[in-house]
Amino acid sequence: MKKYLSTIILSLFIISSSNAQDAKDIMRKVIDRNDGTTEISRVRLSTCRVIKNGQKYVCADTPRVKVLDMVRKDYGPNEKDHKSVSIIIEPASEKGIGFLQYDYEKRDQDTDQWLYLSALGKVKRIVSGNENEPKTGSFFGTEFSYEDMESIRLEDYSYKILGSETYRKHACWVIESIPEKKRARKSNYSKIMDWIDKKRYIAHKSILFNRQGKKVKKIYNNHIEIIDNILVARKILVFNLETKRRTYLTYEKIALNKEVQDIFLTQRTLTDSVFRESTLKKYQSYLK
């Protein structure tokens, strides 16, 4: 009897430890999935408060819409350092505002951000905030927080496979990610559940839990397409269960792995109008 009991216990232990290992391996594949060394895109962000109309959530007010031209390039040995430029196209009241942002893979290195306000005519360094506590600001007034837009570092979380299920006709693993102590200190979330496509290693859906352990956001990746040989979710929906607001992030046009000059990802782009506009025009000819 002892023999069988110890066999079962050992088997369960092996299953659970290999599960943990598998979960991390799966998430490694998700995080390391090729997202292109460069990205040129026109992004539309549409946000509104929703109310339930029958079975469906509909906008209760006119959506707030922002359209941005974005250019990103990855750097570093693992291509985990990112430089990006975003220029606001719409709304008219914010037209011409530019952001330059440098994100680093290194855990303790703060993001560098510069803002160009065309009305003010100068480049201003932005203070991104304290890295040791959660950031509350939203990304361009949408339901995406800056944390939602950050790249995930594999080592910042512990992972567990909760199970498998079919979601939107795709076989998925449901994986739970719990932030490690250091990450937990500065994260708005205490837990994330992801529905990971078993074939393509892309999340179809994510549920984010706040620091009190309550569901706070659901994120859906839609219109998953292969563009320039890279898997891209062209439409992302985030629904904030607390504020009852939703944001659609849509890649209206996108091109990946096209040549982007290093000089374009510097302050020159913010202030040198002729350089910015002529280079963007060239880049936009790649867009699909």
Partner: protein, 493 residues
């Protein structure tokens, strides 16, 4: 026997595992409230409905509302977009696309004495930023104001309606690999300080409405030939201005005009810089990791004038006073360093032969005294991780040597400026609080400003300003009763 006893347990465990696995395919056991159905983003018609069929997040849930996808509004937008794409008019396609218009309505009331209108106007601002060819860029920024009869500027001109226009910028920029050349009327902004003018001396400012014009609206361009040169050792900016312009001061009889007793007994001649008075300067700028550094140098004409007694007009038997804009040289430095939630700023300038106003009433000596001056400003900004922002700035001007005949000027002039900013309503409502304090004069003012984006293109800005002036010898004493409530509506299209 033992084996027979444990087989059913193992089989039971396996069956449970299989049943559990099967159930997850039928309905999510991990997300019990997975019943969210959203209408699609109606205005985003770029991703066609075909894609919804193949890989929609919602196709299992019948979330897509076909009616919405094919709603009239969307069809109209598609039609409009198609029209834009097929219109071959250069004017239609490019100039309009790259233009922005702002229609504004503004009024303000004086709160300190009997409430009355100070400003009451409407305006149209037009901005164009367009690429004419791959190497040529054009920028225009102009504004026409229509001032109603109860506006202080209309009343000063004794009219029922007063119309004025101003051209902020009009320039062409030619681009090359490592540099650009810009010709025309342009605004140049230097330095890091938000209040005191330390190195930001190039572009003139509009002071006609005292402190009530926002800094970004108060700057005006002047005719310049300039070039930005981009190198691995940093960026250089060089400019030459053949006829520098000077600050716009309040017109006579307007609300913020300082009435000097006996002015009608004096003839004033405004001796503005001419084409012979060329201004020029250079700035070098570089960024290292968390540090941004700029160094500047130049030869400038002061944007504010100095009054000089010239002579007696023998015909009118009145003294003639000339307003002269004196030249000076400046070298300056501005730097910032960011660390976590803090941004530290420093800016300093040494101004050689800067002219200050001298009035020796005993000897009737009105003119300029040249001084070598040091201006310095230190600032800090704190971002509470998106909850709010606080900034503080302290600046000082030190004048060496005797200062006894200088008017409205202290040997040390120190001012403190603090701001608090917080966003509400998903970043559509911004509250700003500004506090300014002059240490030597003990004058101060508080300003509260609310900016509300009512829609994406319609904005309301309201502000309340309260002054507390203590020093009767200071220039700000003249504005002790100018507490003001201002409201502006702006529509962008």
């Amino acid at each position: 026997m033992n084996n027979l006893f444990f087989y059913p347990i193992i089989v039971f465990l396996l069956i449970t595992l299989i049943a559990f696995s099967a159930s997850t395919h039928a309905q999510s056991i991990f997300d019990s409230d997975d019943d969210l159905i959203f209408e699609p983003d109606e205005n985003s018609h770029v991703l066609s409905d075909e894609r919804f069929d193949t890989d929609s997040a919602f196709d299992d849930d019948a979330i897509i509302d076909d009616d919405a996808v094919f709603s009239d509004e969307v069809l109209f937008q598609e039609e409009r977009q198609t029209k834009n794409e097929h219109a071959d008019s250069w004017y239609h396609n490019q100039i309009l696309k790259d233009s922005r218009f702002t229609l504004g309505y503004d009024f303000s009331n004086n709160l300190a004495l009997k409430p009355s209108f100070v400003t009451h106007d409407t305006y149209l601002r037009s901005e164009i930023q367009t690429l004419l060819t791959d190497k040529l860029f054009f920028q225009f920024d102009g504004r026409t104001n229509l001032l109603f009869d109860n506006d202080h500027r209309t009343q000063a001109h004794n009219k029922s309606i007063f119309i004025n226009s101003n051209l902020r910028e009009l320039f062409f920029q030619m681009g090359f690999d490592q540099f650009n050349i810009t010709v025309g009327r342009q605004i140049v902004v230097w330095g890091k300080a938000d209040t005191q003018i330390i190195t930001d001396v190039v572009s003139l400012r509009d002071n006609s409405d005292f402190i009530f014009i926002k800094l970004e609206d108060s700057r005006f361009g002047q005719l310049m030939l300039s070039s930005d040169i981009y190198t691995q050792w940093g960026n250089l900016f060089i400019f030459v201005s053949p006829k520098p312009l000077t600050d716009n001061e309040p017109d006579q009889d307007t609300q913020y005009y300082i009435e000097i007793p006996g002015l009608d007994q004096i003839i004033i001649i405004d001796d503005k810089p001419t084409y012979a008075d060329t201004e020029f300067g250079i700035r070098w700028k570089k960024n290292w990791d968390k540090i941004d550094l700029s160094l500047m140098a130049g030869y400038f004409f002061d944007n504010t004038s100095i009054y000089h007694f010239s002579r007696i007009d023998l015909v009118q038997r009145k003294p003639i006073i000339e307003k002269i804009y004196h030249p000076y040289e400046m070298i300056g430095m501005a730097a910032s360093y960011v660390s976590g939630a803090y941004l530290f700023k420093i800016e300093t300038a040494y101004k050689n032969r800067l002219s200050l106003q001298k009035v020796d009433a005993v000897n009737f000596d009105i003119g300029a005294i040249e001084k070598n001056i040091v201006d310095i400003g230190l600032g800090i900004e704190y971002n509470a991780n998106g909850r709010y922002q606080i900034s503080g700035e302290i600046s000082n001007r030190f004048i060496p040597g005797a200062t006894n005949h200088l008017i409205f000027t202290n040997k040390d002039s120190t001012s403190i400026y603090t701001t608090f900013t917080k966003d509400f309503l998903n970043d559509t409502l911004m509250l700003e609080y500004i506090f300014f304090y002059h240490v030597q004069e003990q004058n101060n003012f508080h300003q509260f400003r609310l900016t509300h984006d009512i829609t994406d293109n319609f904005q309301m800005i309201s502000s309340c300003t309260f002054f507390s002036m203590k020093d009767k010898e200071s220039l700000l004493w003249f504005y002790r009763n100018e507490d003001r409530l201002s409201v502006t509506f702006q529509y962008y299209f």
